[in-house]
């Protein structure tokens, strides 16, 4: 998996089979993020495979 969080590439991404597992492994809340797999927004149960490009976007901010 090639992983980025808020546009920053993560060199050693945590092991995760699904979006929900990935969010949890990153210490983030499902209530605060959107996740794209290979350019498509994906639900929490979506599977992640080794070749996928995964983008995690934190979308809840103050200001």
């Amino acid at each position: 998996m090639r992983l980025s969080v808020d546009g920053k590439s993560i060199k050693n991404p945590p092991k995760a089979k699904t979006v929900a597992e990935l969010i949890s492994a990153l210490g983030l809340s499902e209530e605060e993020v959107l996740v794209k797999i290979n350019g498509k927004l994906s639900p929490n149960s979506a599977s992640i495979s080794g070749e996928d490009e995964v983008k995690v976007m934190r979308v809840i901010f103050g200001g």
Partner: protein, 318 residues
Amino acid sequence: MESDKQSSGLCAKCGKPAAITLRYMPADLCQSHFVRLFEARVKRTVRQHRMLKKGERIAVGLSGGKDSCVMLHMLHKISQSLPIELHAITIDEGIEGYRSRTLEIAKEQCSRLGVPLTVVSFREEFQSTLDGLLEAKGAARACTYCGVMRRHLLNKYARELGADKIAIGHNADDVAQTVMMNLMRNEPERLGRFGLTSGAVDDEAFVKRIKPLFTTPERDVAAYAVMKGIQIEFAECPYAKNAFRQYIRKMLNEIEGKYPGTKLRVVRAFLEQSRLMLDGARYRIEKAGSFAKIGRCKSCGEPSSGKTCSLCLLLERG
């Protein structure tokens, strides 16, 4: 995981691959059905609470952040079937490294939708940027200063534009946070004045406020922006970390993670009780007599319940 059980990966409406999990429903939805749900909910909120009338001029508070950009997009969509006139107002507080980017986005959004934009800056109005002001005052009360100053300018310029209403991009998360903050600070009258529309006292100098995203969760606003290709900047105000709201936001999101739907239940509970609270606030204002009625600030002439308005008190004017 609990969320896996709630997420099938398929749209609950059509069975196609889903794009998003909405744990508060709970359901997964494809992009098309999410967009339909989102737009229908905003339109229903606007309709049910009679926020817009044919022929009105609406000043849109446009920070350039995701909430106000999506609100502008939705109001523009509504204006295709309900003739209303939109005019955006952007307040440039002068926050280095934050506001300049969102200001550009605000200009781009207005240009794309053909909505006129007025940009007002703290520097021109108050002879200081927010950064400059907070150097002297300290950043601990940044949100108090910024909020009072922004509200003052939005009201003043909306009134000068002849606007019937000001649209504010408060979403359901903001509402749930505000309700909890007011409860924790024991400020029932402030809570009574808060709502989908303003306020406890009518005064011609106050332009009424409407909040079309009142019942829409913040994450949904972001998802809609991403799906519709609305340009947004996911960035946090550098002063937000100092705010009490930040703790409340974190707490509510933790509870939401464990008990999905909590934030929307807070909003619904507030809506059910807000009429009683508003009546209470009006009663207390009436009982207090002329002292609590809206007069004019002796320093700046803007509407104020005291001799000096909140802005002039904060800026130590008058």
